[in-house]
């Protein structure tokens, strides 16, 4: 634990957004957390004045780094308060007002506005391909997007994004790699492509937590988490440790996949994460020779399921050589052919998701007040 008073003192020496009031008295501190010698601070600024606030951000970062025991500090600017953060509490004047009890600041990921998960019940339904294309399409819509490949046993993001270099470490934070307008981090970037990850549950959980929190994501509008298939450790870790804004379920239309998609929906329901919708992948196949259409895995099953569960149906992605080839080549179709028919499907899905995330949340976790 780093001394909270020392942190408050360091931040008191930095001028807040107005350039005069000390940061600690400006009411602009939207979130302050620490974890194993790392301090995360987010400062509330007027989005139009974000560029001017950069020197203040740097100054705060330097001040924090100078505090004894601080190994690294990440300061981000935000235009939104972290849920549950105190509105305007003066840290310098009321140090530990009630030492008997204290609320933990909800550990939202510093600088990330919305965190969403792309999940499926079953493996092999094309979830990672959909997640990659969705992230790229959201970036094309103008959002700052990151992709976290949480499938530690079968990471696909390096191949999908054509990434081979290892991410750098700066001040003990991993620096994500940028590809097709998306910041990407994956366990696959740190190990050889053929090397297996042979881990038990607790190691998986701590790896996922690190990929989430010990990465210098910077300011993101949305962080897309590509989940491993199923309803296991990784899903539960994420659901418990980070406030997910929603989940997207990917399924093929066939019954075998839909059964598990249902389990996925039920799991998110249990941990109160809204399902933003279902995407039907490998929805149909247009023969490149005769243009005839074949519904290889049947058709419309996911749409039907979405209606039955009362969740949105986000779109149908066909089974197509172009999608497969571009994915294997490290340039997903949304990036390779941004004006093509497949990219259009992903753009439409991206707009739907952005619309849902921008709408005021129906149910946010409650405020926890002490005293």
């Amino acid at each position: 634990m780093i001394d909270e008073n020392a942190i408050a003192e360091a931040l008191g020496a930095v001028n807040g957004p107005d350039g005069r009031t000390p940061l600690t008295r400006s009411g602009a501190i939207a979130g302050l957390t620490q974890r194993e010698g790392k301090v995360y601070l987010s400062i509330l600024v007027d989005p139009t004045a974000a560029a001017k606030a950069e020197p203040m951000r740097k100054a705060a970062e330097e001040a924090l780094r100078a505090v004894e025991g601080v190994a690294a500090a990440i300061v981000t600017l935000t235009s939104e308060r972290a849920p549950g953060a105190p509105a305007a509490r003066s840290h310098s004047h009321a140090p530990a007002a009630n030492p008997a009890a204290r609320p933990r600041v909800p550990e939202s990921v510093a600088g990330v506005r919305h965190l969403i998960a792309v999940a499926s019940g079953k493996g092999g339904v094309g979830k990672s391909t959909v997640a990659a294309n969705l992230a790229i399409a959201m970036a094309q819509e103008g959002w700052r997007v990151g992709l976290l490949d949480a499938d530690v046993f079968g990471p696909s993001a390096p191949r999908l994004f054509g990434l081979t270099e290892k991410p750098k470490v700066e001040q003990s934070f991993l620096v994500p790699l940028l590809a097709h307008g998306v910041k990407v981090i994956s366990i696959g970037l740190m190990i050889e492509e053929e090397a297996p990850v042979v881990w038990r549950g607790p190691m998986v959980m701590s790896a996922v937590t690190q990929l989430l929190r010990e990465v210098a994501w910077g300011e993101l509008d949305c962080l897309v988490v590509d989940m491993p298939p199923g309803t296991g450790d990784v899903q539960l870790t994420l659901a418990q440790s980070a406030p997910l804004a929603g989940a997207i379920i990917v399924s093929t239309p066939q019954d075998l996949a839909l059964i598990d998609a249902r389990r996925g929906i039920a799991m998110f329901d249990k941990v109160k994460i809204p399902v933003l919708g279902i995407i039907e992948n490998m929805s149909y196949f247009i023969c490149p020779h005769c243009q005839g259409r074949s519904d290889i895995f049947a058709h419309g099953g996911a749409r039907h399921e979405a209606e039955k569960r009362g969740v949105a149906f986000l779109g149908e992605v066909p089974l197509d050589m172009e999608i497969r080839e571009t994915s294997d080549a490290g340039r997903p179709v949304a990036a390779a052919f941004p004006d093509g028919p497949h990219a259009k499907i992903f753009r439409a899905i991206a707009r739907n998701v952005i619309g849902q995330l921008d709408a005021p949340a129906q149910r946010v976790a409650p405020k926890i007040l002490i005293g």
Partner: protein
């Protein structure tokens, strides 16, 4: 098969949790308008932790004794629950919103 998961009106959702009386009382306000004042002692007794599942109510009482119980820390768990730390060190119970509502409604 379970019913469609769509809009569930009956699902209680808290809007505020407030810990007072030096950690001895947790007041939970739900969006249904219900407000429950739950004593930390009763919460401790009703902990859903797996460690305590095998204990009978009497054993739980005996474990805690006669003293007042305080909550020293409350950690949010995702969107769906809280994990309070009690002053006897117990901190493995995850209280979901539904569980808190149930405790309130049954007058615990």
């Amino acid at each position: 098969m379970s019913e469609p998961t769509a809009p569930k009106k009956a699902d209680p959702w808290p809007t505020q949790l407030r810990l007072t009386e030096e950690g001895q009382l947790l007041t939970v306000t739900f969006d249904s308008g219900e407000v429950f004042a739950l004593s930390s002692r009763n919460l401790r007794l009703a902990t859903p932790s797996a460690e305590a599942k095998r204990l009978s109510p009497a054993e739980r009482e005996a474990q805690i004794g006669d003293r007042p119980v305080r909550i020293t820390e409350i950690e949010p768990v995702g969107n769906y629950a809280i994990r309070p730390t009690f002053d006897d060190g117990h901190s493995t119970g995850i209280f979901t919103w539904a569980h808190l509502a149930e405790l309130g409604r049954t007058g615990k």
